[in-house]
C-alpha cells in the first residue's frame, strides 16, 4: 500500500485537496470565533473545577485550611487600618473610614489578583496545556473564577464590618451583586490580556507587581480621590479609570456616605464591555501559540 524508499513526493496541493475531499479539519490552529465560543461554553464546568483546584491547592498544607479565605482579608484589613487610620491619617473626606478602606482594599486585591494570576496561569498550567487540547481561554477564566471564590468570603467580611460600624441596612446593598458581576466580566478581559502578553514576553511578568502597586496608589484604595487629588483633570482621570469605578460601585452599595450615581454605572458598563471584548479577541487571536515553551 505504501511504497518504500522511493515514494513519489507528496505535493502540498494534493494533500490539501485530499483533506478537503474527506472533510478533515485543520488542527492546532485558531478556530473561528463562533466555534471557539461554543467550545468554551461546552466546557464551562471545567472553569469552575479548575478554579477550585487552584484555590484548594493554595490552601493545602495549612492547618487552618479554608479558614484562611476569611483570615487573610481580615489580617490585611487590620494592617491597612493601622497604617492609614492610625499612623498616616488618610481618613479625611470620609465618614466611615473602616468601611471605606476595607471595601477599597478587597476590591483592589481581587482585581490585582486576577491580573497577576492571569499573567502566570498559562505557565502554571503547562502540564495541562501540553497534554490536552482545549480552548486556552479557559485557563485565564479559571484564574479569575479562583480569585472570585476567594473574594466571596471577603465580601461577607465587608458586610459584617459595615454593619458593625453602624451602616444602616438599605436596598442599595443589593447593588453589590450586579457590581461584582460587571467587575468579574471586566477581569476576565484583563486576565486574558495579561495572559497573552506574558506568554509572548515572559519578562513582562516582572512588571506585574509594579503595575498593580501603581493601580493601588491611584485608585483611592485608602483615601478619597476627590479630597486628595481635587476635581481638576488629574482627579477626573483618577476617578474614572476602571479600578476606581468598581471600587466606587462597591462603596456606594455598602456605605451611606457614597451616593449611587447612574454615571458611575454607565462607566462601569463601558469599561466592562471594552475590556472584555478586547481581551477576548486579543487572547483568541494567539490561540495557536500558548504553552509552546
Amino acid at each position: 500500500m505504501t511504497a518504500v524508499g522511493h515514494n513519489p513526493p507528496l505535493i502540498s496541493a494534493d494533500l490539501q485537496a485530499l483533506a478537503v475531499e474527506h472533510g478533515l479539519r485543520k488542527v492546532g490552529g485558531r478556530p473561528p470565533l463562533k466555534t471557539y465560543v461554543q467550545d468554551l461554553w461546552k466546557r464551562r464546568h471545567f472553569t469552575i473545577e479548575m478554579a477550585r483546584g487552584m484555590t484548594d491547592s493554595s490552601n493545602e498544607g495549612h492547618r487552618l485550611g479554608q479558614l484562611w479565605e476569611v483570615l487573610t482579608p481580615l489580617l490585611w484589613a487590620g494592617l491597612y487600618l493601622f497604617i492609614f487610620g492610625v499612623v498616616v491619617k488618610t481618613r479625611a473626606g470620609t465618614e466611615n473610614f473602616v468601611g471605606y478602606l476595607v471595601t477599597g482594599l478587597f476590591i483592589f486585591r481581587y482585581v490585582s489578583g486576577c491580573m497577576s494570576l492571569g499573567a502566570k496561569c498559562i505557565r502554571k498550567s503547562q502540564g495541562l496545556i501540553t497534554s490536552l487540547q482545549f480552548p486556552r481561554a479557559l485557563v485565564p477564566m479559571a484564574a479569575c473564577t479562583a480569585e472570585m471564590i476567594s473574594l466571596l468570603p471577603a465580601i461577607l467580611v465587608m458586610f459584617v464590618l459595615a454593619l458593625t460600624s453602624h451602616e444602616p441596612i438599605r436596598w442599595q446593598m443589593l447593588l453589590m451583586a450586579p457590581a461584582i458581576v460587571l467587575m468579574f466580566i471586566f477581569t476576565l478581559g484583563l486576565a486574558m490580556t495579561a495572559a497573552r502578553i506574558v506568554d509572548a514576553l515572559p519578562d513582562l511578568a516582572n512588571m506585574i507587581p509594579f503595575i498593580t502597586r501603581f493601580m493601588m496608589y491611584v485608585s483611592g484604595v485608602f483615601f478619597s480621590i476627590s479630597h486628595f487629588a481635587g476635581n481638576g483633570w488629574l482627579g477626573h482621570v483618577l476617578s474614572y479609570q476602571p479600578l476606581a469605578i468598581y471600587i466606587e460601585l462597591a462603596r456606594s452599595a455598602l456605605l451611606e456616605e457614597v451616593a449611587v450615581r447612574p454615571t458611575t454605572w454607565l462607566w462601569a458598563i463601558g469599561w466592562t464591555t471594552l475590556m472584555f471584548s478586547f481581551g477576548f479577541i486579543f487572547f483568541w487571536r494567539a490561540e495557536a501559540r500558548y504553552g509552546r515553551g
Partner: protein, 261 residues
C-alpha cells in the same frame, strides 16, 4: 485545485479513508535568554553570559514532514533521540502549532505522554475531573466514567491524595486512563507503555485494540523495536526532523537498525 485525478498520484490504497494528513509540517521552538554553544566551545565566562541577554535561539525540530495516515492503521514513529518524534506527536495532537504547513485530522487526536500528572499538587480525583471536563465531557459523563478510570488505573485508595504522592507508574496509568476515556478518534502514544508493570501493559494493549476498532488510527513512539513491531503495521522513520522512510513496519525497522550498524 481539487482535481479528482490528483488523488491517484498519492500512495493510497483503493477505498482507504485518510484520518490524518500532515502537509509539509515544520515546527520551531524558541528559547529566550540563552543560545546554543558551537560544538567544542568552552563554557561561557561572564562576558559571554552578558552577551546572551536578549538572545533568542530557534530550534528547527521538524523540517517538512508529509504523510497520509488512514483509518485502521497503527503507525510507529522511530528515530534517534532529538529526531523530532515527540514534537511531531504534539503537533498532531494540536498542542503546538506548526510554523509552516498544516496537520488535518478527522475528529480529535489525544496524546499520551510520559508526563504523569496534569497537576501534581491536586488529588487523582481532581485530576480526573479536570482532565475529562477539559476534553469536553459533561459533569454527568465524568461522574459515570470515574469508577472505570479508577479501576483501570488501579490506584485504589490513593485517589484522594495529591498526585505528587503517586509512584510514576501510578501516575502514568492514571494519565492513560484519563486520556483514553473520551474515546479519541486518533490516539498518539509517546512511550507511555514503557512505564508500568506487565499487567498494566496487557490492559493498555487491550484498550488500544478497542480504540483501534472503534476509532481509527494509532501512532506510537517507542525506543523498543519489539513494542513497535507488536503494535504497528506501518513505520515512519524520522531523521533530524525529516521523514527518511515510510513503509511496512518490518522493512522500516530493518532499514533503521542496519543504519545504526
Amino acid at each position: 485545485m481539487a482535481d479528482t485525478t490528483i488523488s491517484t498520484t498519492l500512495p493510497l490504497a483503493q477505498g482507504a479513508k485518510p484520518t490524518l494528513i500532515a502537509d509539509n509540517v515544520h515546527v520551531k521552538y524558541k528559547t529566550y535568554g540563552v543560545r546554543r554553544r558551537p560544538e567544542g566551545a568552552k563554557a561561557p565566562g561572564f562576558a559571554q553570559k552578558l552577551a546572551q541577554i536578549g538572545a533568542v535561539d530557534v530550534v528547527h525540530a521538524v523540517r517538512g514532514v508529509s504523510f497520509v495516515a488512514n483509518h485502521g492503521e497503527s503507525i510507529g514513529l522511530i528515530g534517534h533521540n532529538g529526531s523530532g518524534k515527540s514534537t511531531l506527536m504534539k503537533t498532531m495532537a494540536g498542542l503546538i502549532a506548526p510554523a509552516e504547513g498544516a496537520i488535518f485530522t478527522d475528529g480529535t487526536a489525544s496524546l499520551l505522554g510520559v508526563g504523569g500528572a496534569l497537576n501534581k499538587n491536586l488529588s487523582g480525583e481532581r485530576n480526573i475531573s479536570i482532565g475529562l471536563l477539559a476534553l469536553g465531557l459533561t459533569p454527568k459523563q465524568v461522574e459515570d466514567a470515574t469508577p472505570g478510570i479508577v479501576e483501570f488505573a488501579n490506584i485504589g485508595n490513593f485517589l484522594q491524595l495529591p498526585m505528587n504522592a503517586y509512584s510514576s507508574g501510578m501516575a502514568a496509568r492514571l494519565r492513560f486512563a484519563i486520556s483514553t476515556a473520551a474515546q479519541p478518534d486518533i490516539l498518539l502514544i509517546d512511550e507511555a507503555l514503557a512505564t508500568g508493570d506487565r499487567s498494566f501493559r496487557e490492559r493498555a494493549q487491550r484498550r488500544i485494540e478497542e480504540i483501534k476498532e472503534t476509532a481509527g488510527t494509532i501512532f506510537l513512539v517507542s525506543h523498543s523495536m519489539n513494542t513497535i513491531r507488536e503494535t504497528c503495521q506501518r513505520g515512519l522513520w524520522l531523521h533530524r526532523g525529516q521523514l527518511r522512510m515510510d513503509g511496512p513496519i518490518d522493512e522500516v525497522v530493518e532499514a533503521y537498525e542496519s543504519a545504526l550498524g
